[in-house]
Every structure is written in C-alpha cells, then in structure tokens.
C-alpha cells in the first residue's frame, strides 16, 4: 500500500500503480493519480514547510491552486523549479521534492527564532526598520531574501523546450467541473468551436471530491465519463487538460498554460514541456468553481488544520485518511460533508464544532441522524501541537460572536477540518474588469456586470452552489454563447441533479480565542505571508483605510497564492473593525497571472538561433566559405572582414582598404534598401521628400539625396536613379529600409493622395555587388557587354546590360571615392555572378572587402553614414551639406530648417579631426573638451562619430560632432578617456582626408 494512511480502495488513484518519490531526501511510495500533497498525506506527512516570516511549522491546507503553505522545490538542477504547490504537482515516478523555507532542515529550523521574536516583527516591520539608511537596503535585502526563502532559481540554463501558440474559438469554457462540462456540451452540440480549459488532469471539478452525487440518475463519475467522451467526439470541441487559464486580457484575449510533459517520467524528446496558448475567443463562460474559505481562529496554522473540502478531496479522490481523529469546525452546512465522508472512511469524528446556534441544513441533518457529536454555537478557541495538531479547545460563542463564554473543553485530535463558506472564483472575470456584487445570504462576492462583451459566469463561480443549478446554468450559458456566435442552440435539456446549497450560515470573520487578539496565539489570515488578524488591526490603527493600502502594508493577499483563501476573510475583519459592510471595503485589484507562470513559456522557441531572424544575402555561403567574420546590421548579417593566414582585424582591414585603392575590391551590398518608384508623379514625389532638386534628372542618371523628417533632422540618404520615363529606383541605408518605405507611404497615402505614384520594396529582388578600385572598369569590361567608357557611363550614371551573361543593372556610383560600379543582378544569380567576378578578377588582385573596410574607405572621403554621423538631432547644415539643400523648393522638413535654433552658431557640427600623434586612434564615442580638468564633470563639446586608422593616409582619421565646430578649424581639442589617457587632436580644415579633388572618381 502506498502510505500508511491510504485507504485500500476507491478514489481516482490507481491502487496497483506504485510510484516512488523522495521528500527532503527520504523515499516514499505514492500512487498514479496522486498529487505530491496527497502522496505525502498518505504517508502521514502534514508538516511540509516553515512559514515565511515566523518560520512556524506549516502543513498542507488545501487540495488545489489556493494552497498557501505547501510550496516545494521540485527536481534537481537544471530542472529544479521553486514555489510549486504540492497540491498541484502530479506525482511521477522518481520525483524529488524539498521543503524550501527551512534552514538547515525542516525539523530543526534556525529561523524559528523569529517566532520567539514575533512581538518585534509586526506588520510593516520591514518598511519601518530596513528603510533607513536607504543605502543599507541592499545589505538588508540580501539577508531578508535568504531568510524568506521562496525557493531557489536553477543555476544552469533550462534544458527544456517550450512552445507558444495562437488559438481561436467561438466559446472558451474555463473550468471542467459540472458547469463547465455542461457549458461545453451545449455550445459544442450547437456546433460552435469550443475550447474547454481544465487545470487538472481529470475533468469533473468538485465532483471528484465528493461521493454519492447522482446526475441524470447515474453516478456522477459515469456522467463525467460520458460527457468527456461526447466532447471528444465533437469535431469542433477541444478539451485542454492540465491547462490553466492564467489571464484574461482585453477583447476576450486569454493566456493559458498547458503542462505537456511534467506528468511524464520520461518525456518524449520531441514534446515541449509547456505550451502557452494565446487565445482569442468570441465568448467566454467562466466555470472556475469556488474556493472554500477557512475560518480564522487561534493558531489555525498548525499542521493538520485543513479546509473541510480539502479533507473531502483527500478522502474521496485520493483514497486516504488525512488523520485518525478529527474535529470539524464550520459555520455552514458544507462542513458536514467532510464529517460524513470521514466517518464513512473510518476516521473518527470527535466533534463537529458549529458556530451556528442552531445547526441546520441537509448535511447537518444527515450527520445528526448518524449520531455525530455536534456542538452548536461553539468555536475552536485554541489549537495545540507545534508540528501537528494534538488537541483543540472549544468553547461557546457569545451571541454577537465576539467573545467566548464558559470553560473551554479540550478535545484530542490530529486533524481539524474547517469551513468558513465559499468564494466564487471570480479572478478572471475581474481581470477582465468585470464588477462584483456582494451576496449577503452566501456571504461572498459574485460576478455582476461584465465590462466586456461575450462574458458569462456559470455554476459555483456565479454563486450557484447546488449541483442541479450548476448543470442548468452551465447548459444555458453554453447555449447562449453559441447562439451569440450564430449557432442555433441544440434542444438538449440540462442534466438533472439534486440542488443542495450550503446555507444557512453564520458568517463570523474572526473567531475569538482564549486571550485578547495578538496575545499568546495567532489568528492567521494569510498563511503564505504570515499575516494575522492582529496585523490587519494594527494597519487600521495606524490609519490605513483603503483595502489596497492595508494589503500593501501588511502584505496580505500577496505572493504566489495571491490570497485565494484569505482575502475575503481579511476584508471581513477590516469591515468589522471599521464598523462597515464588506462591499464598502471592497476587493483589491485582480491582476494576471491567476497562478504563477514559468518564464520559459513566454520565451517559447524564441531562443538560441531562433531568437531573432538572421537575414542572409544570396552570397552568404561564399562569405562563410571564405572565412568572413560577420557583423549584425539590423537583422542582416553582413561580412565584416575576411582575415587571411591568421591576420587580426587590423591587418585584414588594412589589406582590404589598400587593395581597393590600389587595384580592385568587391563588396556584397545586397542589404542596401531598394524601393521601386513608378508613376507619372514620381519626379514630383522625389522632389518633395528629398532636400535637393529632382525634376530635371535625366533618364539613366543617378543623384544623391538627403531625406529629412518633419523636424528638419536627417533621416536617411542614398542614391536614386531614373530608370525610365516614369520609373525610379531609390536606395536607402541598410538599417532604414523599412522605416523609409513607411515614411514615404505615409506621405503618399495621407498627405499627397493626389500624386500618382506606386512604391514597391525590391531590396531582395537583386543581389548587389560593388566593384571598386582603379581596375573596376577593366574587370567589368571583361565580363559585360556594356559600353563602360566614361562618355557612355560617366560617374552617377546607369545602364542596363549583361554581366556574366545575366541581365543586370549597372550603376556607376561610389561610396569609396574610387571608380565604382554597383551591379544588381537577379538574386538567384547572385552567387554565380559573384563567383564569376571573383574568379575573373584574380588577374587584378580582386579582394573581397567587408563592412569595416567600407567604413574606413568612406571615412577617408568624409562620406557620412546616417545613424553614425547623425543621431536624429543633426541637420544638413550641421553636416556641412548645404549643397544638397535646395533654396527654391519645398520639401519635407524645410520649414523646420528655418527655425532660429537651426542657425545657432554653437550647434554641434560635423568636423574632421586629426590626432596630434598620427598613430593614436580616437575611440568612437569619445567626448571632446576644450580643457581637461582634473576630474569630471567638464564642459563637453561633442563626441567622435567615426574614427579609424587609414592606411591610405598613413595615419588615423576621425570625424566628430562638435559645438560650433565649423568655426573651430585649427583648434586643439582633447578627448579624456576612461582609462586615464587624454588624446589631443586638431580640428581639420575638412572631413575629406583622401583625394579631396575627387580625381579618382573620374
């Protein structure tokens, strides 16, 4: 038998399927179908952790996601996971679990000294004590974190895979209890696309925890099986088990997490561990049931004190005895269910302590008929036993329920089952901003008006606590949801069952003890955060009134369980104390997630080499084969440089730069943005978006253009070519291609819809290779049928021709200052043409060069790079590019350029910089000052934007944006560096360091 407290048969566990697991290093047996919590209880283990603040021994309180105490560290690094609720962890063979809030061990816990010092640890203690001096918080926090002990994050990377998926349906049903099953059935039968999400691995909800329920004349168990089979047969219905709906967002968008493999001892390699469902539905029916409230009495946190429904669950579903002799403490009829089921399972029920003066209700009657000892109008006033309940003392309540009278009677027991009423699970409804109303009769908050369309609640989640009502309301809600999606409701009537409620009740929020509150005993409201009723009252005495403030001051309702058991009790205690009514106090804000969600599902498969797309050019494989190192430019991966024979970067780049000037280089320029512009108004359009004049550009000619944003700042630059009468090709910088297209479409569609122009991105239609260097013309002539004479194809001209037999566009444009041809061929031919050029170019010493050499070459010529020399605050004038700005026409950004501020002489302007020591290379980004002070701060004039060693100039060169730079030519500036060095440099006459006359372009 799996555990000494296990019943020989019954429940939803497989009695013949033994599993082995360890808890705090000791080995135990459990059964398939157990949770970690039920397996521990079957082995007689109640005490599973220590409390957060006082390190009091704590036991398993619940049988579900509301559990505040039984938090476990499960598994070994790297699969170790903290803060799992033992009540939700499905037992698998070989599972390893540890208590996480005990040091050095659960049995002997150093932190328990906090319990002795508890008078000095009231609510708000951390705020009051550790906030001063502010600088010491980091030190305090280090120790507080260790003592608080909310588990340990794994140190190694997560070896598991996670999945994410979008999903859509007509009707989402949250919860697979009786109401949820009924809703899914009626919506599914009508033909709607239904997703039913159930956090458990079994359907049935609360029906799994009870015995003897009958639906349509058959045992509930059989009805559940039939419902499950019918749902499985409906083609448009999907049942997701082990799937928690953790969040309700706007417009019926929901977040769900499916646990795919955690319950498998050896998960198949191809399955993700968990899956995130991003679900959009037209209608939702919340059927999440209700959570039982515990009663708040003295030392109600002793291991062995559980909710009555949890006791029922352990007895009926998991077939075990959570104790040998029990006391039930209730204020309503439902507590008697636990008493009856325990008696049936052979647990001695010492007494039912009922706060109601006149116990009544259907279950009460059955218990009375069975002769159980019922103490009407009584309360538990003390609980003895540190690591396990040994004894309770009970006493009669006063008429107002605020005090007790008479001499308490001691009753020996090892189990206390408490029931303080039921709270509908309204969390998702409230996350979706639904409003609540207070139900005085049932003493609970119920869903009122939904804030979003298509949202219903049904069953216990809607305050229908009887099984018959659950089924009826679920059926109706499912049919209504389907009808709202246009599906004629089926004529199936609702299933029938007995309609038993838990009324009447006597709603006492705080059960008086033997001593004044806060003395000698603690009344816990929130066990996970160790918040007591006395703490709440202290907060009120200190002036906090808003329940949100009380929550934050006392931390009640925080942490991983978010106060699912304690919140309404806390509100009740606050209401009593301020003499108000619960709905006036109100609830705290419900926010996602309903239960904690592991980070892995948000990452999904967006990790490692799928983290972000790597965009490859058609020649990428050639660059790889030829040893290129790559750099990321946006999502593109561009060849950076091609080291040979052990060259370092400096040597490789120097060689590439010199080769271009000496003879011939080839660059993969595919990534440059290309926008095809067609239409009769194309020239006018260009004239408006560029700063210079475009109306007179001849066919076959190219022009450089600057594009500004509305604020007059440089946005992009590039060469645009007139391919035909009404046809242009614009090039943009690599990183800006999408933004420029968006900018242009924006103007075309919203400002100038009258212009007849069509834009199409053709960046990837072509493989682009640049031949650059004095030998460029000779190589191209070898492989092309184009007339390349300077007369036929001068600088800034274009021709269509064949290159290596492939139809190509040849642009004679240059970003190096050398004779250059930019060749566009159809992308699929890119590799072939590139290989032809590199092979045919061998006789000219053709050298592939990467982006780094390209940067050096253009800097030698003083050509800017948008995004490097500019940062969104730089005008054409700042760049010394007035020559590219028309004085006679309008263009985007023009009016901003006429602002006074744009003419300020001390704007940061682009200048060339030459270091005094030609060997020293300024770091890019270095700040420039006029005078070096002993230490910062010192007035900063600007920064270095580009800086390289230039092999062609035989020295370092740099560009910088400097305040009033154009007037500082010849001045010496200093770059004080972080490493203590200071580099002196002179503002050059020009940014053009090489071939200032442009002879080589001719």
């Amino acid at each position: 038998m799996a555990g000494r407290m296990r019943l020989p048969q019954g429940g939803f566990v497989a009695h013949d399927e033994l599993l082995t697991f360890t808890f705090n290093g000791k080995t135990y047996k459990g059964l398939a179908g157990d949770t970690l919590a039920s397996a521990l209880l079957a082995n007689g283990i109640h005490m599973v952790g220590r409390s957060f603040k006082y390190h009091r021994p704590r036991g398993i309180v619940s049988a579900g996601g509301e559990e505040p105490n039984a938090l476990m560290q499960v598994g070994d690094d790297p699969r170790s996971e903290p803060n799992l609720k033992a009540t939700q962890v499905e037992l698998v063979d070989g599972l390893k679990a540890k208590s996480q809030n005990a040091w050095p061990s659960l049995e002997f816990d150093v932190g328990a000294l906090n319990g002795l010092a508890s008078r000095f640890l009231p609510a708000g203690f951390y705020y009051k004590t550790f906030m001063w001096p502010a600088s010491a918080w980091m030190t305090y926090e280090h120790f507080i974190r260790r003592a608080a002990g909310l588990g340990v994050s794994p140190r190694q990377r997560d070896p598991d895979r996670y999945d994410k998926t979008f999903a859509h349906c007509d009707v989402l049903v949250v919860g697979g209890g009786p109401a949820g099953l009924a809703a899914a059935l009626s919506a599914g039968r009508a033909g709607a696309r239904v997703i039913l999400a159930e956090q458990d691995h079994l359907l049935g909800g609360a029906l799994l925890n009870t015995q003897g329920e009958v639906i349509d004349g058959q045992p509930a168990r059989d009805w559940i099986a039939a419902a499950e089979a019918e749902l499985a047969a409906l083609p448009e219905v999907r049942v997701l088990k082990r799937t928690i709906c953790y969040a309700a967002f706007d417009h019926n968008f929901f977040g769900l997490v499916e646990s795919v493999t955690d319950h498998l001892p050896r998960p198949p390699e191809n399955l993700p561990r968990k899956r995130l469902w991003k679900l959009r539905t037209k209608q939702v029916v919340y059927c999440a049931g209700a959570i039982e409230r515990p009663l708040v009495f003295a030392d109600n946190d002793r291991p062995g004190v559980m909710t009555a429904s949890a006791v029922q669950s352990y007895v009926n579903r998991y077939a075990l005895r959570p104790g040998r002799r029990a006391v039930v403490f209730t204020n309503n009829d439902s507590g008697y269910g636990a008493a009856l089921d325990m008696k049936a399972a052979g647990i001695e029920v010492a007494a039912v302590v009922d706060a109601r003066q006149v116990p009544a209700g259907p279950l009460t009657e059955r218990a009375t008929a069975l002769g159980l000892r019922i103490l009407g109008g009584f309360a538990i006033v003390a609980v003895e036993g540190a690591r396990r309940v040994k004894r309770v003392r009970v006493a009669e309540l006063s008429l107002d329920g605020k005090t007790v009278t008479g001499v308490p009677e001691a009753i020996d027991c090892d189990l206390v089952a408490s029931s303080g009423g039921w709270n509908p699970t309204v969390h998702l409804f409230c996350q979706a901003k639904g409003k609540l109303r207070w139900d005085d009769e049932h003493a609970c908050f119920l869903p009122d008006a939904a804030m979003q369309t298509g949202q219903q609640s049904a069953g216990a989640a809607n305050g229908r606590f009887g099984l018959g009502s659950c089924l009826r309301e679920g059926t109706e809600a499912g049919a209504a949801a389907a009808a709202a999606c246009g599906f004629a409701p089926s004529d199936t009537a609702a299933s029938q069952a007995e309609d038993r409620d838990f009324l009447p009740g006597r709603w006492i929020w705080l059960v008086p003890g033997e001593h004044p509150l806060g003395h000698k005993a603690k009344h816990f409201v929130d066990q996970q955060n160790d918040v007591t009723a006395a703490d709440l009252k202290l907060a009120l005495r200190e002036g906090y009134r808003s329940i949100e403030h009380v929550k934050r001051y006392t931390t009640t309702g925080m942490a991983t369980d978010q106060g699912k058991m304690g919140n309404v009790n806390a509100i009740g205690i606050v209401a009593d104390e301020v003499g108000g009514h619960l709905p006036e106090v109100g609830v705290t804000t419900f926010r996602p997630p309903y239960t904690p969600v592991t980070f892995g599902v948000f990452a999904g498969r967006d990790v490692d080499n799928l983290l972000d797309p790597v965009r490859r050019t058609p020649m990428h494989a050639w660059h790889e084969r030829n040893g290129a190192l790559f750099e990321d430019v946006g999502q593109w991966r561009r060849a950076w440089y091609y080291p040979q024979h052990g060259e370092d970067m400096h040597a490789a780049v120097n060689r590439e730069v010199k080769a271009v000037r000496d003879s011939l280089g080839i660059l993969d320029a595919t990534t440059l943005g290309k926008i095809d512009i067609q239409g009769p108004d194309a020239a006018e359009f260009l004239n408006r978006v560029y700063t210079n004049a475009w109306l007179k550009l001849g066919i076959g000619r190219c022009r450089y253009g600057l594009m500004l944003k509305e604020d007059g700042m440089v946005m992009d630059d590039g060469v645009t070519t007139r391919l035909g009468e009404k046809h242009y090709l614009m090039t943009t910088t690599t990183g800006n291609a999408a933004a420029v297209l968006g900018h242009l479409e924006d103007y075309l569609q919203t400002e100038w819809p009258d212009l007849q122009v069509y834009l199409t991105s053709v960046t990837e239609q072509f493989a682009t290779m640049t031949l650059s260097g004095p030998s460029a013309r000779r190589l191209l002539a070898d492989v092309s049928d184009a007339d390349l004479s300077p007369e036929a194809l001068p600088h800034m001209a274009y021709t269509a021709a064949k290159v290596a037999g492939v139809p190509a566009r040849i642009f004679r444009i240059s970003f190096t200052g050398e004779l250059s041809y930019e060749i566009n061929v159809p992308a699929s031919f890119g590799m072939a043409v590139w290989q032809t050029l590199t092979t045919a170019g061998e006789r000219y010493g053709i050298t592939p060069y990467g982006t780094e050499a390209m940067h050096v070459l253009r800097a030698e010529k003083g050509y800017i790079i948008v995004g490097q020399e500019t940062d969104g605050s730089v005008t054409p004038h700042d760049l010394g590019m007035d020559w590219a700005v028309s004085k006679t026409k309008d263009f985007v950004g023009r009016r901003s350029l006429s602002r006074e501020d744009m003419a300020r002489p001390d704007r940061k302007q682009l200048v060339g910089l030459l270091t005094k020591d030609p060997k020293e290379v300024l770091p890019e980004g270095a700040q420039l000052v006029e005078k070096v002070l002993p230490q910062p701060p010192m007035p900063m004039l600007g920064h270095v934007t580009s800086s390289y060693h230039s092999p062609n100039c035989g020295r370092s060169i740099a560009m910088a944006l400097v305040k009033g730079g154009l007037a500082r030519k010849g001045e010496t500036l200093f770059a004080p560096l972080g490493d203590g060095r200071t580099i002196a440099c002179v503002v050059a006459d020009t940014c053009v360091f090489f071939d200032p006359e442009g002879e080589r372009l001719k």
Binding site: D163, K164, T165, F166, A167, H168, R193, N270, L271, P272, K278, R280, R605, D606, N609, L610, D612, P613, V614, R615, R616, T617, P618, H620, A621, W636, D676, Q678, G679, P680, Q756, Y758, T760, V762, T763, E764, Q765, F766, A804, G805, V806, P807, P826, A827, S828, F829, G830, M831, A832, V833, T836
Partner: protein, 207 residues
C-alpha cells in the same frame, strides 16, 4: 549565356534535395521548398474597368477584388494583397519567365496608371502540408486559419509567421499552404518551421 542551373534558391545552402523524400509519409507535417517562384507585383485601380480588363487579357485571370482571395488557372495564381495591390504567382517556370510575365503585363497596361514589378527573385516559397499544418502555422501566425474563418483553399493573407513577414496562400483543403517569405528570412523560417513541427513529426519532401 550563363547556365540557368547556376541559379540558387534561397535555401540552396541547406541541400534539401539530399535529405528529402518522395515517398508518402506518416509525418504530421510535410515541408518543402518550391524553388525559384515567379512573382510579379501589380498595382493599379480595380475601379478602373480598363485596368481590370487589361489584367484579364494579359493573364487570362479575373482580378480578385474580395480581400484575401486568389484566382487561379493555367499554372498561375493572382493573389489579392490590398485594395490596389496583387501578386501574380507561377511555379516551375523557365529562368526568365518572370521578366516575360512582367513585360506582358506592362504592355497590356501601357497608358494606365499601374505599376508592374518583378518580385519572384526576392521570394522563397515554402510548402507546408499535412494534418498538423494548421497547428504549426498557429504557433507563429496570429490569424485564425480555421476553414470557417479563413475560407480554405484559394484564400490568402499577408501576416507574420514567427518573426518573418509572410504571404500565405492555402492551396488545398487537405490542408496545404504555400508561404512566401523574403529570401533573406528563408533560412530562419525554415529552421523555425522544422522546430515548431517537431512534436508532430516533420518530413522534408520533394516539392
């Protein structure tokens, strides 16, 4: 004249032909690259009868005006991409068929305000078929591809798949889809698809 066998598709570097199968497969998903598609982007005014007629004459296909639908015939598909934008698609065509198709359209549209732009070189076409094809797409595409919502074969859409923009065309109710992605993203998207389809079993098949 350069030999057309020197053309490389966007996934040439993966050598898919070497590990693809022609045999029927039990895998939940069949994946392939349909190399070197022909595609011509078309812009114009569908309210202009002359434009609509000219396109019909040139392609032998009606211009689809219902959003996200395609008309097909004679190895050609014409996809609605926007109120004034379409994409003409063709497979298994000769090397310079794209230029020919574009020229045909340009001639037919001469004198109208329209734009014809060759696009096939910029695209990679992936084929995704099998019982779990929709489930794989759902992992990265926010659209509802259920037949009731998407419409089944002959419907198309521009959307995101993972972090790549795609044009998606359902070519069979089986279901089977063609995904058109810019060729620089093809390597990423292929690896993403293989990974996303792994739990269902994925077979690389001959196109």
């Amino acid at each position: 004249m350069i030999e057309t066998y020197l053309r490389q598709s966007a996934l040439d570097h993966l050598g898919l032909a070497g590990h693809s199968t022609a045999a029927p497969t039990e895998a939940g998903v069949q994946l392939s690259e349909k190399p070197l598609p022909v595609a011509v982007n078309l812009r114009g005014d569908s309210g202009d009868a002359a434009f609509v007629e000219a396109v019909r004459e040139a392609l032998g296909l009606a211009l689809p005006t219902l959003p996200n639908t395609a008309t097909t015939g004679e190895g050609l598909a014409l996809l609605w991409l926007g109120p004034d934008e379409w994409l003409a698609m063709q497979h298994d065509a000769a090397a310079f068929a794209e230029a020919q198709l574009a020229t045909k359209l340009r001639k037919a549209l001469d004198g109208l305000h329209a734009a014809v732009t060759e696009m096939g070189e910029s695209l990679c076409c992936l084929s995704l078929a099998g019982a779990q094809a929709r489930a794989v797409l759902a992992k990265g595409c926010p659209l509802d591809l259920h037949p009731r919502a998407f419409g089944g074969s002959g419907h198309c859409a521009q959307s995101l798949l993972a972090k790549a923009a795609v044009t998606l065309l359902q070519v069979s109710d089986a279901p089977a889809f063609e995904l058109y992605v810019r060729r620089s993203f093809a390597d990423y998207l292929w690896r993403w698809l293989e990974d996303a389809a792994r739990e269902y079993g994925v077979a690389v098949v001959r196109p």
